[in-house]
């Protein structure tokens, strides 16, 4: 047996007897997955703020985690939606493998003609007995190529006003008629995809929420998405500002008077955003995220973009180089491990994905400040 064959065999063995998965399942069943979830669904009905207590003990013991970066769509969007709008049966079926990372989720919302105006989407779901037949095109679907399930928004009643004709489903990504094609992005690789749905059969049992209630359900998803992006509690100098601050401390050659002013301006902005995200987290401990989540995501996008742009210029010659342009399908991206050029480029999407910054400002203006709407519908 050759070495590569032996390695393949070992990997196969490992996937059948993955020690981490057994541990994660047991952790879920013990209610230590997400303590603010109900008992029996990975939680203990405790305040969300207590989760770090669990995480710290487990991390100190070197216990495996569920690689949250890899399963952000499931954790941040699908799970809260299923918890809030799913049936008991759906929660029991989906939440555990979602949390352990055994089943990845993706989000089939955006379409070529429906991005910011998501409610105008045209993917159709037509009732056939106990099933729905779904046809249409979705786009920019992150991790669709790895996902087992998708949260899907489709139009079930074209005659109804646009927000009232939508229904929310869980779509089995292995079902016949689901065609996933990679879409290369400006960083060179393809995290996202085009997804073509051709008469995909979805059992009515996989509908989440009522028929025609899709928009209300999707709002839960979107508000949680915005909190998921940039809302996690983090220590000071975490993330992008930490990377730049480290470069500044370690490399005297990058320092100039002007750049120091800029660094400190960004440091202050980052710390203000961090504290306000933490404050939002405290507000959220009990209830569901509201429009305030939009502010956190808006600030996160702006900061990530400014800091990564500054960090790239700061490095001068090194900033002129890139690591790898080949088209790849990376697993979850750890920004810290990539070049400053990658961070700069990838951050451009932060103000587009999960609702553009312009749309978030509209939400703040209209739902928080109560200003008259620019568009109706």
């Amino acid at each position: 047996m050759r070495a590569d064959e032996l390695a393949a065999r070992t990997r196969e063995f490992l996937s059948a007897y993955d020690p981490a998965t057994d541990f994660l399942r047991a952790r879920f069943d013990a209610g230590l997955a997400w303590v603010h979830y109900p008992r029996g669904l990975g939680g203990l009905d405790l305040p969300r703020a207590l989760q770090p207590v669990v995480d710290e003990v487990l991390a100190a013991a070197g216990a495996p985690d569920n690689d949250p970066l890899r399963i952000t769509v499931g954790l941040g969007m699908a799970a809260p939606t299923i918890l809030r709008h799913g049936t008991d049966e759906q929660r029991r079926r989906w939440l555990r493998p979602l949390w352990t990372g055994e089943e990845l989720w993706c989000q089939l919302f955006s379409e070529p003609g429906a991005g910011s105006d998501l409610a105008s989407l045209t993917t159709r779901a037509v009732r056939h007995g106990d099933d729905w037949l779904v046809s249409g095109q979705k786009v920019w679907t992150s991790t669709a190529h790895e996902a087992r399930w998708a949260i899907l928004l489709a139009r079930t009643d074209p005659a109804a006003p646009k927000h009232d004709g939508l229904t929310f489903f869980a779509c089995d990504m292995t079902a016949p008629g689901v065609d996933v094609r990679p879409l290369r992005q400006l960083t060179g690789e393809a995290e996202f995809n085009e997804v073509f749905l051709d008469e995909v059969r979805i059992p009515d049992a996989d509908r989440i929420g009522g028929i025609g209630q899709g928009w209300q359900v999707a709002r839960t998803t979107l508000m949680n998405e915005r909190v998921a992006i940039g809302g996690a509690p983090v220590p000071r100098e975490h993330g992008m500002i930490g990377i730049v601050a480290r470069a500044w401390r370690e490399r005297p050659s990058v320092r100039t008077a002007g750049a120091r002013d800029e660094l400190m301006r960004l440091w202050v902005a980052a710390e203000a955003a961090r504290l306000s995200a933490r404050r939002l987290g405290e507000q959220l401990a009990a209830g569901q995220p509201g429009a305030e989540g939009s502010a956190v995501k808006y600030a996160f996008a702006l900061l990530n973009q400014e800091i990564s742009g500054f960090g790239l210029e700061l490095l001068g010659e090194e900033g002129l180089r890139y690591d790898d342009w080949t088209m790849r399908r990376p697993p979850a991206v750890d920004w810290a491990l990539r070049t400053p050029g990658y961070r700069y480029l990838r951050a451009r999407a932060n103000s587009i994905e999960g609702g553009t910054s312009e749309i978030l400002c509209n939400i703040i203006a209209e739902r928080v400040l109560g200003l008259p709407r620019e568009v109706t519908g």
Partner: protein, 366 residues
């Protein structure tokens, strides 16, 4: 005072160059060249340099050039910025500026004819005004008699170059590219791939030494920075144009997205900045043409301003295109990467602001 408007001759030149670039180097062609691993377009460069005479614009007729000036050269740079065409214009222009300040050489004539490609062997990120010659012009290359040994990293237009102009040991040298080892670098801006160069006792011809070498160096660097500002103006202009066209046509919420005030204001502000960038870039090109004493200030000012405007325009272009703007198959990224690399080239805006403060006697504390 420099004239800030374009002359009729300049507009004619622009039209000629634009026609060639839109016909021969649309963004799809640029992207295809990148994907094919052969970004530089030698045929296009031949048309621009040899047939239209773009390479020799600032060279007097008596020395083999077109006898125009840096203002015209800047118009070409604008058009090249608009098209992000991968041609060695900036490298050649710096070489021309250096050679104009040296004794007459055959090299200048051949460069003006578009016969040869040359570039200045210096890291693209080297700040304008950094370390003029006296002593070691380039700390990483050593001159032994008539040979050079050492390395220079991240050099612009070295890949297609026939000749390298190398600062070393207080002199400027001419080295045949064939006598150096030139290695492509994975560059942020794929439309302008950089290269690392190493010399191992490479035979070199001395072009200038001492104060004249210093003048040639400064002339080359200043001309490069001024043309880069024009290029940045072109990038910004094209990004604005593309974005305006898109927001008129893309509908969301039953309306063109360009009808939303957030979008309108963003583009209106960008237009204001570009208008200023044009004035600033024109002033710099004018100064360079006439040898105006304001040239150092004008060059740093142009870089401090135009670099940020180009970056902002490219970023806005991505943002206002939404998800499509983030894809490989859309041209926005070509402009974004060029604009951001250009902001590092010749020093970042922050460094230009520091340099301006010194030139303007605005000292820091203490």
């Amino acid at each position: 005072m420099t004239a800030l408007l374009y002359t009729e001759t300049e507009e004619d030149l622009r039209a000629t160059v634009r026609k060639v670039l839109t016909g021969r180097s649309p963004w799809q062609a640029v992207l295809a060249r990148i994907d094919g691993g052969e970004p530089y377009d030698a045929g296009l460069w031949h048309t621009l340099a040899a047939e239209i005479g773009c390479a020799g614009l600032p060279v007097p007729a008596g020395r083999g050039g077109a006898g125009a000036g840096w203002r015209e050269a800047a118009v070409v740079a604008e058009e090249l910025g608009r098209s992000v065409a991968p041609v060695p214009y900036l490298g050649c222009a710096q070489a021309v500026a250096a050679l104009l300040a040296c004794d007459d050489t055959e090299l200048l004539r051949r460069l003006s004819d578009g016969d040869l490609v040359a570039t200045l062997a210096v890291p693209l990120s080297t700040p304008l005004g950094a370390a003029p010659p006296a002593g070691a012009l380039s700390p990483t290359v050593r001159a032994d008699g008539d040979t050079l040994t050492g390395t220079v990293t991240s050099v612009l237009d070295a890949l297609p170059a026939d000749v390298l102009i190398v600062p070393a040991g207080g002199s400027l040298w001419q080295v045949a590219a064939a006598d150096a080892r030139i290695t492509a670098v994975t560059s942020l801006d794929q439309t302008r791939p950089l290269a690392d160069i190493s010399f191992d006792a490479a035979p070199a011809v001395r072009l200038a030494t001492g104060a004249p070498a210093g003048r040639a160096w400064t002339a080359a660097r200043t001309a490069g920075a001024v043309l880069l500002a024009a290029e940045q103006l072109g990038i910004a202009d094209r990004c604005l144009e593309t974005t305006v066209a898109y927001v008129k046509q893309r509908h969301q919420f039953g309306r063109p997205i360009g009808s939303f005030q957030a979008v309108k204001h963003r583009l209106a502000q960008l237009w204001v900045q570009i208008t200023q960038a044009r004035a600033v870039a024109r002033h710099a090109a004018g100064c360079l043409t006439t040898g105006d004493p304001d040239t150092p200030v004008a060059a740093h000012l142009a870089q401090a301003h135009c670099a940020d405007v180009a970056v902002r325009a490219a970023q806005d272009c991505v943002q206002l295109h939404g998800g499509i703007g983030f894809t490989w198959e859309h041209p926005a990224h070509l402009y974004l990467k060029r604009a951001k690399s250009d902001a590092i080239a010749f020093g970042t805006p922050a460094r230009h602001r520091d340099a301006l403060a010194a030139l303007l006697h605005l000292p820091g504390p203490g």
